[in-house]
């Protein structure tokens, strides 16, 4: 059993309330930080912990905090990104639903570390029940003296507010989120300036994911060095993984980074294997934006070693044979799933969610969706496959925000690893409408890396 830092008390009845959360050791980190540590001490502990952004980018949180500009007389903001919208990812919803005080406690620690007196939690609008839960948790914390003026007699003041989004994936991008929080369309901003210099209302701002903020609680409690002992290499600590698709036990799991992918999929402690006795075909390991990998490559590296659930191991081999940990949205596809259809579905998603600011993304995502649709529905041409690759390459790297890359990678990787399935759809259009291509050779052990 791996250590649980965030979900240790998930099954305790009433853990969603202030009282039970506190009885289980909650708000100790706030006491420790506000009474015994300076704000710089807190930043230092988070740096030592090696915590990396849990929203997808994996940027070191402590470093992000230390970049925050601190001009005199200008307010600073901590904004929590709870716009969880990456297909395959539902860990933040889980955490906010069941242990809302873990986020509130983390918000107090983070705000104190950054010197913010007003902080916002931007929650996607569809999570209205979670918004109510957080509002209740904030009221409870405030009533107990952990929010408001002069918290615990420390002289530090903090208010936290919850802001609903409006149903736009793009608002998970930090500058689009800030635009939205200012009451505007969620069009990402050109960087620089980075939010650390000019973020919310033009003031220095840090935007962190729900899980990153919650992770600062055990870091303050146990110390950064202790936290860094968990995990493997530069992938320190625990990570919440959202597991979905064709598995026996979908759900949210807290793992110690470094667990093998094989154990994660097949052990009863986690996914419990592939549902209905089927075989594994492919995995999207870090949310829909990351490259899809066939069974052989997700379980093992190209050199035959086991692949691990860590930032480094999942990206081992670059995009030729690797993928990314991303937000930890682990989507499992069994042998009955159609890669072309799944890729078309994701492409439609990105086309729908493109904000329309940059032409390569606005137009390119639509073209990819249309071309994939015609291949899936039996009207594809062989040249369409390379056309897709070509369009994806022209989107990638040519847009203001990473949505363009996120739209391009799933298409490029699906063709890279499953080209024969795309070709089969073109050659056998009638058959492709009747049945799926199946498992083919994707689960076979790798012969030599060059063949991949």
């Amino acid at each position: 059993m791996g250590r649980k830092l965030l979900l240790e008390h998930i099954n305790v009845p009433g853990i969603n309330t202030f009282q039970v959360y506190k009885e289980k050791g909650g708000y100790r980190a706030v006491e420790k930080a506000l009474k015994t540590m300076s704000s710089d001490d807190v930043v230092e502990e988070v740096k030592k912990s090696g915590l990396r952004g849990r929203g997808g980018a994996g940027f070191p949180t402590g470093m992000k905090w230390s970049f925050l500009a601190k001009p005199e007389g200008v307010p600073r903001y901590l904004v929590c990104n709870a716009d969880e919208s990456e297909p395959g990812t539902f860990k933040d919803r889980y955490l906010m639903t069941h242990i809302p005080h873990a986020l509130i406690e983390g918000m107090i620690i983070g705000s104190y570390a950054l010197g913010a007196n007003t902080s916002y939690i931007y929650v996607r609008g569809e999570m209205m029940p979670q918004i109510r839960i957080l509002e209740k948790a904030i009221a409870e914390a405030k009533a107990a003296g952990y929010l408001g003026k002069n918290i615990l007699g420390s002289g530090y003041d903090l208010e936290i507010y919850v802001q609903p989004g409006g149903g736009a994936y793009i608002c998970g991008e930090e500058t689009a989120l800030l635009e939205s929080l200012e009451g505007k369309r969620g069009n990402p901003r050109i960087k620089p300036p980075f939010p650390a210099i000019a973020g919310l209302y033009g003031c220095p701002t840090v935007v962190n994911n729900v899980e990153s903020i919650a992770a600062t609680v055990p870091i303050v409690n146990e110390g950064g060095e202790e936290y860094a002992k968990i995990g493997i290499g530069r992938s320190t600590g625990t990570k919440l993984i959202s597991a979905s698709g064709n598995i026996n036990q979908p759900g949210v799991y807290e793992i110690e980074l470094g667990l093998s992918v094989e154990d994660f999929i097949y052990s009863d402690e986690y996914c419990g294997g592939i549902a209905n006795g089927k075989r594994l075909k492919a995995v999207v390991a870090g949310g829909s934006s990351v490259p899809i990998l066939p069974a052989n490559l997700i379980l093992n590296l190209a050199n035959g070693d086991k692949r691990l659930m860590s930032y480094e191991s999942l990206s081992e081999g670059g995009f030729a044979t690797g993928t990314m940990l991303g937000s930890g949205g682990f989507v499992v596809l069994d042998e009955d799933q159609c890669i072309v259809r799944n890729t078309w579905n994701f492409s439609r998603f990105y086309h729908h969610e493109s904000c329309g600011q940059c032409s390569p993304c606005r137009e390119g995502t639509g073209w990819m969706e249309k071309v994939l649709h015609r291949i899936e529905y039996g009207h594809g041409k062989m040249s369409d496959i390379d056309l897709l690759v070509d369009v994806s390459k022209k989107i990638e790297g040519n847009t203001i925000c990473p949505l363009g890359d996120a739209a391009a990678w799933p298409v490029a990787s699906a063709i890279r690893h499953f080209r024969d399935e795309f070709e089969w759809h073109v050659k056998e259009p009638k058959l492709a409408l009747e049945r799926n291509y199946g498992l083919a050779h994707y689960a076979d052990p790798l012969k030599i890396a060059e063949e991949v």
């Binding site: 919803r93 609008g125 999570m127 802001q163 989004g165 736009a168 009451g183 979908p250 596809l333 799944n342």
Partner: protein, 170 residues
Amino acid sequence: MLRVEEVQSVEFSSALISKFDEIVSRYPEGRSKSALLPILHEVQAVYGWLSSAAMDKVAEYLNIQPIEVYEVATFYTMFFLKPQGKYVLEVCRTGPCCLVGAEKIMDYIGEKLGIKEGEVTADGLFSYRGVECLAACGYAPVLQIGPEYTFYENLTPESVDQLIEGLKNK
């Protein structure tokens, strides 16, 4: 894109206005435009959709141009710009849900209600539409119903039947 049916005039209740005031108090002086999305959610929860008259009234309240409200209302998919059924069944149609049968559930809802996506049933009770990932992939297939966005998980044709019958008799 902006197709709104004419509604003559809208007067917000004093309860709604005081809710707006509370929302505006969350932001620094001079930043009341930040209240726009939360306020539009409140308005939609009362009226079921956002008429141009209602949006104009919001603009007036926040002292911004009506276009600033329209551009936001048209950008975010949660805001309805025409009347909907009393219950809008929003079914997730993105990848992970489709791996476990979301498309069949959506077809089933359409058949059961006898309407197409985006239409309203004759009794005014129901509409449905596909929406993108609702961050509940582990409980797929899922749907949500506003304005409180209650979740219905692990859907089957039987659970859809129960849900719809339950709402009819509510």
